[in-house]
């Protein structure tokens, strides 16, 4: 299953709904291009919804880290929403779970962004 990304706006937060596999190649490129496009348009509050992400490899993890630092370096915030158990476990063993601000409820995640 290839990766898909669609964006929507909610209370000043850009929510990116991701589905499929974030792996080396197409999945990572789609995520990278989506983040660059949003940052280029001035989005500073980005919420990545990973609820339908079925698989992620080390390249995908790297792309999430890159997205996090790219947004932060522009003075923005990036948070993660709805991790599956597999993605959650992967972020735990790579010690990235504490780096990212991870939420499991969309409304809570949106309200957690700096006003």
């Amino acid at each position: 299953m290839t990766m898909k990304a669609s964006t929507r706006q909610m209370d000043g937060v850009t929510i990116v709904d991701l589905s499929g596999r974030i792996t080396l190649g197409e999945g990572s490129v789609i995520l990278r291009d989506t983040i660059r496009d949003l940052v280029g348009k001035g989005s500073k509050k980005i919420l990545l919804n990973l609820g339908d992400v079925t698989y992620i490899d080390s390249s995908g993890i790297g792309e999430l880290v890159s997205a996090f630092t790219t947004v932060r370096n522009q003075g923005g915030e990036l948070k993660l929403l709805n991790l599956t158990k597999k993605v959650h476990d992967l972020l735990q063993i790579t010690k990235l779970y504490t780096v990212f601000d991870v939420k499991d409820d969309e409304a809570t995640a949106i309200s957690a962004f700096t006003k």
């Binding site: 080396l24 190649g25 490899d57 790297g62 880290v65 790579t94």
Partner: protein, 149 residues
């Protein structure tokens, strides 16, 4: 049959990485591993295959990746070899070190070690080979078909 080895010679492409991952999942299931373990094994193989194709062979169409699977009865042994310039694992930074946490790359070998019981590296001439070993649970079937593709 126990001990038989299946070997695949694959192009240096992302499609080959996906194929190695799929084969690993199928063969791990045949070896009796559960869904979670199958995913861990196939992910470790994916990381090894990415290293072989990307860092080893650098997508060179003249260079091949070889992936072999062997169920010894007690262990599932998977070897991924490339024909690149070799890999010095002694100089790979710890991805869990605070200064490396936000680096984009460098987690592949860490994940292989996290998901497998044993990971060994060997220098070839030319290239390198990683051996990924997972112990087969007692009572699980030991069955990989003999083939060469």
């Amino acid at each position: 049959m126990t001990g038989n080895r299946v070997s695949y010679t694959l192009e240096s492409t992302l499609e080959s990485v996906n194929k190695a991952e799929e084969l690993s999942s199928q063969l791990a299931a045949q070896a009796g591993f559960g869904e979670d373990e199958c995913q861990k094994i196939s992910m470790a193989v994916r990381e090894a295959a990415v290293n072989a194709v990307l860092h080893g062979n650098a997508y060179d169409p003249k260079k091949k990746m070889t992936v072999s699977y062997e169920n010894t009865g007690g262990e599932l042994v998977i070897r991924v070899a490339d024909q690149g310039k070799g890999l010095d694992v002694s100089h790979i930074p710890d991805p869990l070190a605070p200064e490396n946490l936000l680096k984009q790359s460098g987690r592949g070998i860490f994940l292989m070690r996290a998901f497998m019981d044993e990971v060994r590296f060997r220098t070839l001439d030319p290239g390198s080979e990683v051996t990924l070993i997972k112990k087969v649970a007692a009572g699980a079937p030991a069955d990989t078909k003999e083939a060469s593709k």
